[in-house]
Amino acid sequence: MNLRSNVMRIVVRVGLTLSLVCLVWLAWAAMRGSIALAADPTGLGGTADAAVDYVWILVCAFLVMFMQPGFAMLEAGFCRAKNATNLMTKNLMDYVTGSLVFFIIGYAIMMGGDWHGLWGTEGWLMLGDYYDVDKYLNMFWMLVFCATAATIVSGAVAERLKFKAYFIYSIVVSAIIYPIYGHWVWGGGWLSQLPFGLGAVDFAGSGVVHAIGGFVGLAGAMVLGPRFGKYDRDGKPRAIPGHSIVLAALGVFILWFGWFGFNSGSTCNAHHLRIAVIAVNTNLAAAAATLSALLIAKWRTKKWDTGMALNGAVAGLVAITAPCAWVEGWAAIAIGLIAGGLMYASVKFLEAKGIDDPVGAISVHGTCGLWGLLSLGFFADGTYGNYSVEAPYVTGLLYGGGGEQLLAQFISCIVVFAWAFGTGYLTFKLMDKAFGVRISPEEELQGLDIPEHGTPAYPDFVTMRKS
């Protein structure tokens, strides 16, 4: 008790001190005149061509940022009222931490040049040459993706993780886990240079963003163990219903909306009219996965299970994220239908294995993230290149591309799982040794809102099934 509050006090002090140091350092950096002459911070080159690309990328980035409340509402809706304040705070703070950390160091590691295919080494704090409109634009794009990866985890570890631990985790993921893997695939790192097909490709991040989030979440859920009451005495799983289907549905609609930015914006170029196909594919896969999840649930449970349909929508979106630019509409439907089924099976599997994922994040983002990576190895139809309208085009097995691309994708599946689960496990385990990541049983029963934040989410309402 005493020890813990000491640790807490130290964490806060360190936090405040760091902020101060940061401030001073920032001021000092400015003093030495950080603006480089090679860079263009003013944005002089604004032709119509540049302008339309900027507009496209920025608007899509705004949409991606808007996925944050989507995740927040979905997670809150699928968890209990007594933890809603906590979930809001976690979802807010991972975006906050991600924004600052990725700006200060994440982008440099991910995109600041390349050191042996492993990571980047320049652009800290976006000073000097990096104070440039193009670089800022690119940084912003990568930042909103980073924050998406970070926020996925909060669902898998919901209702039992200390806020402090989540805070630290979100620094680690934004500074290290996401940027390094991102460098491997999108920053010119080794995975992108695999000698099969066009190297491992991942159009908008089924792997880089979603599988990373999903498997770090798996690690977190495993270190934490299941919530109190999730399994009965015989180890049989019990449903713990979320407190608002309306919030969950709102969250999914927001995600679906934001995902159009996520996927079509990933051309980072409005001149690739392929963006229309990408938007359509995104929509079709989401619809197909919702449908298959709903129908499978109806078949298994005799009810039109709304929660599964909502999970299905996100599963379809995750799965189409990697292949969205490289497939036709019919293939998007096929990818989605399969994603809905995979998600359903994965949820049941994890539940049976004793892994408690309150919102289904691991199945939706992890499992379907892998499926997304693989699927383009089958369905890519050879009409679009690697963020380019020019050949070489990405071609999969079904369109005569042979198995090469599939192989590259398969390798990247293994790597993303190993990297995300490994670093995630380490992070949570180390924290657990240091100060214990799990809230006390009494606090868990009472809900995290009051012990951690002092503030119940719904003080005017009479609530009942609190436990």
């Binding site: 799983p237 019990r238 713990i240 449970t301 299970d305 929660g307 049941k348 539940e351």
Partner: protein, 112 residues
């Protein structure tokens, strides 16, 4: 005076209320409760997994009435609240010592 405490189905509340209205509409207090008796829990599901609601929601009606009215009120409730299936509810009768009307300070049966 007695207090009649009836635990009834939510769906039956409107019907019971209408029946009591016809029978003179005594003052009453309504509380949302959850409970179980002989009735087994209800099945609900969430994200594909079913669970049992061990305490299905009910409505509790409390009516404080003159001794002479008790039987009639109880009968009215029993008739209008019944479906014949387990879960129809229970009625409990308790003794009451006194009643006071806040508005006037009146005491006893006149205060009802």
């Amino acid at each position: 005076m007695k207090k009649i405490e009836a635990i009834i189905r939510i769906e039956k509340f409107e019907e019971v209320k209408d029946a009591l209205k016809k029978a003179g509409y005594p003052g009453m207090t309504k509380t949302p409760v959850e409970g179980h008796g002989k009735q087994k829990g209800l099945k609900e599901q969430f994200r594909g997994t079913t669970f049992e609601v061990e305490f299905p929601p009910k409505i509790k009606l409390e009516i404080v009435a003159r001794d002479s009215e008790v039987n009639q009120i109880v009968d009215t409730i029993v008739t209008s609240a019944r479906t014949g299936e387990v879960g129809d509810g229970k009625i409990f009768i308790y003794p009451v010592e006194s009643v006071i009307r806040v508005r006037t300070g009146e005491k006893g049966e006149e205060a009802l």
